[in-house]
Amino acid sequence: MFPVIKNDLIAPKLHRLVVSAPRVAVARKAGQFVIVRQGVGEERIPLTIGDADPQEGTITLFVQAIGTSTQKIVNTPAGGSLLDVAGPLGMPTEIKTWGRVACVGGGVGTAVLYPMAKALAAAGNEVTTIIGGRSKSIIILADELAAFSHDLRISTDDGSAGCKGFVTDSLGSLLVDEAVRPQAVLAVGPAGMMRAVAEQTRPYGIHTVVSLNPIMIDGTGMCGGCRVQIGDEIKFACVDGPEFDGHQVHFDGLVKRLAMYKAHEENCRLLAS
């Protein structure tokens, strides 16, 4: 049992949970995730470790309620508990001093991006953070990111916060200007957004890292379900990733595999409602 210490709603459907998981809190590095099972009969799902406090023995999770399992998790109140939390899993973010780094986050991807951007800034990079979403209400962690970012740029589709437009517009303006062009780009968000970023940086040959989110079960390389095609090779995102060279990722396959259980999920929602 892993007690939930805090559970705050920070944007529509998006919760910040502080969970007691002492061993994970000590071992965890930026970019790693845990596999969570809320209760008996529930699915095992991957969630990035947003932050950790090794002294307190807690980890922070940012969870967007999009389906059955994430809904059950965000419905767990402080004082309740998650049945299983296993990790930290995956390879940590490669923290190098690149110089200028642009960190691009979309939707809940911003939460996944947060620990990586923080670690990159701590390593002495000049971090420009670009976050975005449909509208103001789903912009999260702006203050937390601003605290270590050289520059924080916000874009919303409807212009209700920051600039009107997509994160890629904002990134584009950095790329064209040689004086501010980043040496590395990190992008986390929906597959479509990550693909767009990778296509944008490809002509400049800028090192581009994306964090992939295929469907997982064990998270230890045992089931092969999280396989993604990277260049000519098949990799397991849970052990070889979740971060990969964005220029090598076959996004088409990823998007199609993510839809594998769509019919089932819809069925579950119908049953639940």
Partner: protein, 470 residues
């Protein structure tokens, strides 16, 4: 009851048939297929045993179960005695009685099998073990050993780790098992389906160990949550029984299409997560109408029979050799056939094709024939030039096998591995690191339950010796 039949009388008894669920009904449910012998037929079967002095059967058992003794006690109707002997020699008899490839082990060596049918040792083992599980009060309680103040960490809660834990708790050591998944049993839980090995049996065995003082911590991944180094600092000895959980990929076009599963994923969804088995389980699984399973070992049989139970109209085994060469247990093949599984032999997968949404539609195979015998004496399959076989399929399952998972070993650079990534051990199950022992599939590659347990038994002895001298 006495067991003083003449050899002639024993020879006159014919082998007891294992009663089973009706094939049509069971091919649509997950309940255990074999129903177990009743007491009368078990005793009669036991009386077939000639109690040979040569004990050939025992030499066929990797852990040396005292077969004539336990079978003899059963033939006398003394179930408690039979159970005590069996439990002394084998930590998981109810499991082994069900899943050992007996025809290649103990029963292969049975003298009665030389002319006619061997004694049904596996079925008798199952009978006695099940009786013991349900009559614990009739057995002498296991004595708790005096604490010796040494701590041992066991990595992995499969048959190898469980055996080590059982042996060492009995010698007074303090045992903690660390398991990566959220539940116990290893392949017994996530791999072998309910219809062959009910989960209840694993639960009872685990409860017995916990009652004896073994601590089990799930959700701890050694190499990630804790390192081997951490364990070496905190414990006096470590046993690595982390299994061979890494799927071998097909390496053919179409492997990443929707509806293509590695056997481990397919079985884990159904067995560990309960997908397709109850409405309460939220883990999804694709229920194919036409399911092609590549491979012909126990794993392949488990997948294909699971597919039938999930509703497949056509469930096929696709294998590049012939039926006689299939590595699965005979009983599994026999049961699969009864359940309507189709066997596509001499077919080697070339390509998986899909539709525009990347869903599997077909599997194309190279037609094979058997050529010259190779070094192992098996005739090698060779392609029949220009001939292919096209199978309609909406789910394809890769059951080619598994290899060593590097998650743990990659974080222990000083641990010596062989070229396949398996941990190298000496005859005492000792690895290259002092105080670190290993056994089971992580040493052998995918093998059998009883071999993993044999390794565990040997390792436990070595660990005990090591702790005495340290």
């Amino acid at each position: 009851m006495t067991n003083n039949l003449s050899p002639k009388e024993r020879l006159a008894i014919s082998r007891a048939l294992m009663p089973a669920q009706d094939p049509v009904a069971r091919s649509r449910n997950f309940k255990e297929v074999n129903l177990g012998l009743d007491e009368e037929s078990a005793i009669k079967e036991a009386q077939r045993c000639l109690l040979c002095k040569s004990r050939n059967c025992v030499s066929g058992c990797p852990v040396g179960v005292s077969i004539p003794e336990f079978v003899g006690a059963l033939a006398e109707g003394d179930l408690a005695k039979a159970a005590t002997i069996l439990q002394r020699d084998n930590a998981l008899p109810a499991v082994c009685g069900r899943v050992c490839p007996q025809e290649a082990q103990c029963e292969a060596e049975c003298l009665r099998g030389k002319k006619g049918e061997s004694v049904a040792i596996g079925n008798l083992e199952r009978f006695v073990a099940d009786w013991a599980l349900h009559h614990p009060q009739q057995l002498a309680p296991v004595e708790t050993a005096k604490s010796r103040g040494k701590k041992v960490a066991v990595v992995g809660c499969g048959p190898a780790g469980l055996t080590v834990a059982g042996e060492l708790i009995g010698k007074g050591h303090d045992i903690t098992i660390f398991e990566a998944l959220h539940d116990t049993g290893g392949v017994l839980r996530y791999g072998i389906p309910e219809f062959r090995l009910p989960k209840e049996i694993i639960d009872i065995e685990i409860d017995r160990l916990v009652a004896r003082g073994v601590k089990i911590e799930c959700n701890v991944i050694i190499g990630k949550t804790l390192t081997l180094d951490d364990l070496q600092k905190e414990f006096d000895a470590v046993f690595l029984g982390n299994g061979a959980g890494l799927p071998v990929l097909l390496g053919i076009p179409g492997e990443n299409l929707n509806g293509v599963y590695a056997a481990n994923e397919y079985l884990t969804r159904v067995n560990l997560m309960g997908a397709g088995q109850s409405e309460e389980c939220t883990t999804p699984i694709v229920r194919g109408k036409r399911v092609a399973v590549i491979g012909a070992g126990n794993t392949a049989m488990d997948c294909v029979r699971t597919a039938r139970r999930l509703g497949a109209e056509a469930a096929m085994i696709v294998y590049r050799r012939e039926e006689a060469q299939m590595p699965a247990r005979l009983e599994e093949v026999h049961h699969a056939k009864e359940e309507g599984v189709q066997f596509v032999m001499l077919a080697s997968p070339l390509e998986i094709g899909g539709d525009t949404d990347d869903w599997v539609r077909w599997l194309r195979c190279q037609k094979m024939m058997l050529g010259e015998a190779d070094a192992s004496g098996r005739r090698r399959p060779v392609p029949v030039e220009g001939e292919t076989i096209l199978l309609d399929a909406d789910v394809v399952i890769n059951a080619l096998g598994t290899s060593a998972n590097p998650l743990l070993t990659a974080t222990a650079p000083d641990l010596v591995l062989n070229r396949w990534g398996n941990i190298t051990v000496d005859a005492n199950a000792a690895t290259s690191l002092p105080g670190v022992f290993a056994g089971g599939d992580i040493v052998r590659g995918g093998a059998t339950v009883i071999l993993a347990m044999g390794d565990g038994k040997r390792a436990a002895q070595s660990i005990d010796n090591y702790l005495k001298s340290s």
